[in-house]
Every structure is written in structure tokens, then in C-alpha cells.
Symmetry: C2
């Protein structure tokens, strides 16, 4: 994690108005579930209802919500609209965040078109690319601008969030420029590990990693009864005799 944490070992260090990271990651899910309930005209929901809609169990949901405060009513449940607003406020999407997207290839294109950018609370203020052939192209009601204008745009529009959809190569450089320009949160789609200074948050979305995780589990399903035995090792050079792959772990 990039977040700095000033922990003193005194008491359990109860949330100094700080919410566990795992909970933060679920709040947006709850927000969406509440919105769906609201759209269906449901005014009140129990933790059980909400948990089902959000795909978690109710104990976890209640504990998560308890970090925000006591917004429910015992014996009754939660007022959908009220809770929705409280979560939205806690997350910070009651205000609008200015976002720039850097790298208008296939993916950048898709994100630029993504209606509503998934959720309100975010406003794309610029699409940037360094390729002169792309600059000037219109996408929806926006126009691709030159990456050189980054600093100016960040300052003018108070941009705090940057989305990187470039190839892996230029990603770190783009990242550095974003940070230097004053962006303090970055969402990275490029398949590289970016390094950022303290105080800058970075999150990564990586298609091929997700697929590989699925592949791992998939492989185990296939080989449930008959694990495909250790295949021929590819001409081990340099190193010594091979550790017996089957029994290396455990016992």
C-alpha cells in the first residue's frame, strides 16, 4: 500500500476516523446496491437484504457500516436513501472529481465513451495523447488534446485523478509527469508496476493478471483427480539437480 500510516502501538488504535481498507473497497458496492434498491422504489432494507444485493454476508455488511456510524434502526433496518447519501459522502462522490485520461488507444477510447464514466462523481476534463495524429480527434463531445498541455490542464481544472491507458512503455514517464503536475491519485491500466512517491495513491487494473488467476483455478479444476504430471522441464541448464517438484512443499 502506498498510504502512509502513522501507527503508535498504544491502544488498538481505533479508527482515528479511519476506515479499514477492506471496508473502503466494499463501500462502492454497497452504494451501487442501494441505488438499485432505490430505483426499485424500496425505501427500507435490512442488513440481510442489502448483503444479498451486494453479494456479501450480513455480518460483514453490518460491521462495515458500523465504521461509518449508526445509520440503521434496530428492529427495522436501514433507510435506503439516507444510507445511500451517507456512504456517498463518506466515499466523497457527493462532489465531482476532475479526471484526465492519458493514452487514447483502444482502451482509452472505450473509457472516454463510457457513459457517465460508470458513476457520477467523476468528470472527465481531458483526453490526452502524445501522438499528433490523434490530437484533435473528437470522441463524444470531447477532443483529444496534446499531452504537453497536461500541466496547464491539471492546474486549471484542479485535476486530482489521472487514468493511464498507455502501453507499458511510456507508462512510468506519464505517471511521473502526472505526479509532477499535481495529480495525487492514479488508476493504471498499463501492465507495469509504477512507482510513485509517498502521498500518491495508485490502483491497478490488469486484464491479463485477472485472466491468469482464473487460469490457475481452472487448471486445478481440470486436474482434480488426475493432476497432469510434471511435464518435461525445458532443458535445465545452469542450475543443479532439480528439486522434486511434487514434494517440495509442506511436510
Amino acid at each position: 500500500m502506498t498510504r502512509a500510516s502513522s501507527r503508535r502501538p498504544g491502544p488498538p488504535t481505533r479508527t482515528e476516523r479511519g476506515i479499514p481498507e477492506a471496508t473502503v473497497a466494499r463501500l462502492p458496492v454497497y452504494l451501487r446496491a442501494l441505488t438499485a434498491l432505490s430505483d426499485n422504489g424500496i425505501a427500507t432494507a435490512s442488513s440481510e437484504d442489502l448483503a444479498t444485493a451486494a453479494g456479501v454476508n450480513s455480518a460483514k455488511l453490518r460491521k462495515d457500516l458500523s465504521y461509518l456510524g449508526s445509520y440503521g434502526t434496530r428492529g427495522v433496518g436501514y433507510d435506503v436513501e439516507y444510507l445511500r447519501y451517507q456512504i456517498a459522502r463518506e466515499i466523497g462522490v457527493t462532489q465531482d472529481w476532475a479526471v484526465v485520461i492519458v493514452g487514447i488507444g483502444n482502451l482509452g477510447h472505450a473509457l472516454a465513451n463510457y457513459s457517465g464514466f460508470g458513476t457520477r462523481g467523476f468528470r472527465i476534463v481531458a483526453l490526452l495523447d502524445a501522438d499528433p495524429d490523434l490530437v484533435g480527434e473528437r470522441i463524444g463531445d470531447m477532443e483529444v488534446r496534446d499531452f504537453a498541455q497536461l500541466e496547464e490542464i491539471v492546474e486549471t481544472d484542479r485535476v486530482s485523478i489521472g487514468v493511464i491507458t498507455t502501453p507499458a512503455g511510456p507508462a512510468q514517464e506519464v505517471c511521473d509527469r502526472l505526479v509532477a503536475a499535481g495529480v495525487t491519485s492514479i488508476l493504471n491500466f498499463a501492465p507495469v508496476v509504477l512507482s510513485v512517491p509517498d502521498g500518491v495513491d495508485i490502483r491497478k487494473v490488469d486484464l491479463s493478471i485477472e485472466l491468469q488467476i482464473l487460469a490457475y483455478h481452472e487448471q486445478r479444476k481440470s486436474g482434480e483427480a488426475a493432476l497432469p504430471q510434471v511435464p518435461e522441464l525445458p532443458a535445465m541448464n545452469g542450475l543443479t539437480d532439480l528439486p522434486s517438484v511434487g514434494g517440495g512443499v509442506g511436510a
Copy 2:
């Protein structure tokens, strides 16, 4: 998690050839780091080198690798090619997995074009959409086919992984069809919680959730010294006059 696990509480229940989920999620990162080192002509790397390249600390990396076996050499480090192969095999990307993409909108389009689909190990065998206007369109060297052909394709090509890039609305139905057709791993880009039977793995990639997590931290940075005090609660009665926050159910 969807994975079933048969745990008896006896001893620490060491990996019955099972690798912790947190480790599994990092293996693809190591794989990529190793590939990068290999491309740079580096034949041997210490856990420290690797850890730096992968953006983790070396103790964690060593522990992760130890679940796979003893593939390093004390006093020396790891043979890059050898370790790369071992990890690839463990993940299951030494073979090719057939993948279908359902929902050829902006995002589906982008993924279809994604050269190499991120990494070798995966082969897109079909692009599917229910919209007759889209069916027949060419994308790269593939043609969009009718979603109705799903079952046939899954059977013929032994498809085990499905990618859902539809809007939220049809996602669950698409998911059900995929599962019924025999797909056992799903990567979901639609902003909904999908429910699947046991034995099917599902992973979710959600842009707006990632942004909201960033927004949360961003908000805390801004209000470091001066937390904006709890704003007026919006008349906690029936349906209040909130800014319409949330609601990723775009389309």
C-alpha cells in the same frame, strides 16, 4: 470466494498442494517481472532484484515462491528462465485457454483488439453479441458472431473462460447462459454482482469502484487539517433531495 475448500481443523493444514489466494494473485506479477528481466538478457536474479521489479518486498516474494517449491539456489538466486517456466506452469499458462468475449460495445471492442490479449496463454475464439447490427462486423481478424451460437462454440472449442463486457442489464442472463454452456471461469466487467453456482469462479473488474476508492483517499488528503464537518443532513425523511450519486447501471 467461490472456491470450495475442504479444510479440516487438525494441523496447520499445510498446502495440500494448495497455494494461498494472496500468493496466487501475485504470481502473474512475478511472471511479468521475470519476462522483463529475461528480455533484458538477465539470466539470474536474487529475491531482492525480483522483488524490486515486481513491486513487493523480498521476504514476501521468497515466501510466495516457497509455496511452489525450492526453485532458487542459496547464495546465488533464481535462474530467470527456469523460474519463469515454473511459475507459468503453476499458473497454467503453458497451455492455451480458449476465451469468448460477450458484449462487443466499446470495451469489448477494445479487448478484442488488445494485441496478444495481454499475455500468451489465452486465445480468443469468439466475439459474441446479441445485436444483429453488430453480428458480422470484423474486428481485427475476427468476426462478431451471434450470441445464440454460444453453446455450439463453447463445446467445439472447449471454452472454459468467458469475458462479460455487456451493460449491467443483460449481464446475469449472459452469465447464466455461459455457465449452462459449460464455462467455469468468468471475468465480469459489467457493474453488477453476478451470482454463479459453486464450482464456477468469477472475478470482477470495475472501473467505477476503483475510482471511488481513489476518491475516498483523495478526499482524506484534501481534508487533512480541516475535515469538512458533517454537512447538513439532508432532511432525513422520506426520499430526500440528494444529488443522484452512484448508479453504475449505465447503458
